[in-house]
Symmetry: D2
Subunit: 304 residues, 4 copies
Amino acid sequence: MMQAPLAGRKSADQKTLVEVSGLYFGGREFIVAAGPCAVETCEQMDVIAKGISGCGARLLRGGAYKPRTSPYDFQGLAEEGVPILAETGHRYGLAVVTEVVAPDHVAAVAAQVDMLQIGTRNMSNFELLKAVGRSGKPCLLKRGMSATLEELVMAAEYIMAHGNSHVVLCERGIRTFERYTRNTLDLSAVPALKELTHLPVVVDPSHGTGKRSLVRPMALAAAAAGADGLLLEVHHDPDHSWTGDGRQSLTIEELRRLMFELRTILPALGRTLNYRFSVDEQSRTEVMISGQENHLSLAGVMPG
Amino acid sequence: MMQAPLAGRKSADQKTLVEVSGLYFGGREFIVAAGPCAVETCEQMDVIAKGISGCGARLLRGGAYKPRTSPYDFQGLAEEGVPILAETGHRYGLAVVTEVVAPDHVAAVAAQVDMLQIGTRNMSNFELLKAVGRSGKPCLLKRGMSATLEELVMAAEYIMAHGNSHVVLCERGIRTFERYTRNTLDLSAVPALKELTHLPVVVDPSHGTGKRSLVRPMALAAAAAGADGLLLEVHHDPDHSWTGDGRQSLTIEELRRLMFELRTILPALGRTLNYRFSVDEQSRTEVMISGQENHLSLAGVMPG
Amino acid sequence: MMQAPLAGRKSADQKTLVEVSGLYFGGREFIVAAGPCAVETCEQMDVIAKGISGCGARLLRGGAYKPRTSPYDFQGLAEEGVPILAETGHRYGLAVVTEVVAPDHVAAVAAQVDMLQIGTRNMSNFELLKAVGRSGKPCLLKRGMSATLEELVMAAEYIMAHGNSHVVLCERGIRTFERYTRNTLDLSAVPALKELTHLPVVVDPSHGTGKRSLVRPMALAAAAAGADGLLLEVHHDPDHSWTGDGRQSLTIEELRRLMFELRTILPALGRTLNYRFSVDEQSRTEVMISGQENHLSLAGVMPG
Amino acid sequence: MMQAPLAGRKSADQKTLVEVSGLYFGGREFIVAAGPCAVETCEQMDVIAKGISGCGARLLRGGAYKPRTSPYDFQGLAEEGVPILAETGHRYGLAVVTEVVAPDHVAAVAAQVDMLQIGTRNMSNFELLKAVGRSGKPCLLKRGMSATLEELVMAAEYIMAHGNSHVVLCERGIRTFERYTRNTLDLSAVPALKELTHLPVVVDPSHGTGKRSLVRPMALAAAAAGADGLLLEVHHDPDHSWTGDGRQSLTIEELRRLMFELRTILPALGRTLNYRFSVDEQSRTEVMISGQENHLSLAGVMPG
């Protein structure tokens, strides 16, 4: 393994909480981010934000800058999409996360949202990693679709080495020969990354499978594998999504059912859903007495 | 998809129970098979069988015929290993499963054990599939390490087309570029196979990850993904296993901890652990009134 | 790398010639084996054998035992196909090679043909490798579709450790994510295998690409990469082949054009096409004075 | 396949020449670009440029902006490296090509060099593709290490849709399970891309194999597969290269030997090496009467 002095785990019990506007990735709460592939209209975002908020999701996701394989496909609303996402999410008490695709967009987007996303195609876009590092904004870093775990850890190291320790890793499926699923969701990446790093790890079963029917079981499996949360594509009308990614999007009703099942299974795994963790002394103590989470440190904050 | 009239699922609620000496794969019980990579000695098998039996495992696994990459590695005890496995397992009330590697071994092995295993290297050894089909013996069919799900279903179809409907599928990891794990365990295969077929599906997280530390989280994840059971490598002294596969074997103590955790999580998933299902009318009724399992059929038995 | 004392190369200039009925794989002649996917009828084989013989091919290939993904597809003429292949090939002065798929077929097939083939699905069918080893018959060993080069070398080691040193390796494409081609033909396997072993290496661009239009350029590239020959699917009427593999089969006319091009390019690579190498002293000397082939040994014959 | 109206081939004989400072990719000349992984010093570049020029290479390559997996590895001389590359190359009559890694570097780099390179990690960095498209500068577009051919064609379409038709595609190896080589060089991509597009295709056997000993045979094989040229890592002192990529770099002496062999084999393939193609009427005619290249069009020039 390459040296990753910042991202690498230094002891078996080292764990870092990453705060995103009052939410803590890596803590006891299992955090669900949900939303459409792309920001389409104010009305669409309002319906979806309201829906996912009512189900217990914590973050609203939605792409304004969309990396698309074809230059002729809908490329996202770009700078017009970001404020729609931010205002809608915040209206419903949701933090917002969106993808950045070029170094010179980072500052403007970071000023409006709670968390920046580095997409799978940009995991090794080192200039973008550096820019996100310099921004200091919490970052959701997706694994490249053919990246090794070591490379993912080194991508996190880039961001951290440029001044930003607020990094959450995301497994989103890798490319294999299998054709029934769009990608092969590598859930072993969750415990493996927790051996390699001290960073929180979330899972995107929507892109990871590419099939709506597989999202629910893989979301439960991600929780059981020890993931700290989920990134889910949810659309109020998947069959008419502008990006054609509806085949992997849950409806709001399906999200509700999934959240119900997560609520059933998570306690057996020592986790909770949508329990607003606050870093006052009481809850901090509560976390520290739990067996598994006794050496938490807050990203960017010196322990002491 | 190719036509698989026997293995393919004909309706969304079609599910088949596969009986193995009184155990039912695909029923409410989540079934754990455990044991060493290879049958080594009577003493080794006795210690392990006693240990896993005490933890709640149902089947004893162990290789007598070992497919090894090098012709100079320990090739298993062959025909001498089968009776050791069978006698030890049965002494502790465990069903036994072992791998067959050539068509002309099938009959002799089938006469002694409760379930035959087709290993990953032989999933497309069609002559072996036909021989196991003709044997009528319950079969654990492992996915080839680079086999698509469609090919796995067609391998099951071979066995079934030759007269044996008692097939349990097993996901055991596929080959990818990732080097931290030995294979990439494709848990999405579990719900995907349940869409494609009506057969039970189990998971082997030992070979699937190749790392002892990843077996536990992936076993829990497999359960959450909907698997019907697990195949686990367990050795009383992994560092001295004759095949060198100790790095992916649990100790008996580690198995005990995993079984405890499974017992905690399974009820939230509507499953039980080590609850001896018997096909008398009462329990059958019990199964039939549960929401998820209302169209069970018993492999090899005409519904009616 | 694992230890392969028999298949592994011991010095940079160690090279082995494998004789197949008067032909020498690994010598100066670049050897072309051609023929249909499956033996269908006497008439089909006659037309094809006549055609390929007229183009300069040296071996007639054709499957009698066909490993097919579906049990409902044409499985080959089995024991009835072997004599058709053998008689037709020998009538036109062609050596014949055919696949064996079960240990107990080996002796009967070996008695009729000049070379046995181990197919990609059986590269790790160790019982079959042992049986072919014991047969002593020259063997064309195909790389498993997800086998590493090390595993291919170890498969050769199995055959050799069981008494048969007449092994020719065959690259036939590996499984990747690419979907335009059926497999990804790994031509770097040719020089890599020549570093790892002293055995001849041939290439199958028909299965390796799965597309007729790519066979010609990849056949030329294989020659340039240093391959010792080709295995080509050729059918007189590809659109009506019984196995549906016609989309990767050349017509006889296309084979003729390819042979013409090979004849143009091979001299620049220090090779010849269809120059019947005979092991009398004169030609042996001729080979030994050529720069690249000065430490030839004949498989199964002690150098001295 | 997605629609690629600009990059896609519209007829079987459509072919485009891409001019780079008087050189024509896609014409009869087989073009070799060579140079070190990274620009290190003026002295290093001088020795290498002089050496490769003397061997018949046409372009000098060398990275000023180096995408490195670790943030702690040498990241290239950046804007200081570009003029060193350009001046040294031009002093020896070589065109120069270098990688760009961020949209806002493109204009400055384009002003100094003859050709921009998009590296494998940035093939789906669509903002960079757009910037290179707007620059109008000839572009060497490398296939992403896990990109399908369709995705590579669509990446070219991005550049072309933003105004730049001077695109040369480059196969540089894909990620597979094989560990003996660093990547698996997919030479079938060469004829496949020539079916899918009308653009020139070159091959990088240095990154494609990661092993110096495999570069030579794979370079010859690339030529035989129909490639229009090569991109080669060459260093005067590979064991002391600053990036540690010396294990895949040829020495100048090894390049000389390879060029000699290419000169031997290319005529049999209807190609020449280092024959300065000039678009005066005479040579144009010469090209047009050759059988295979009769519908050439010059990139960016309307046929008429």
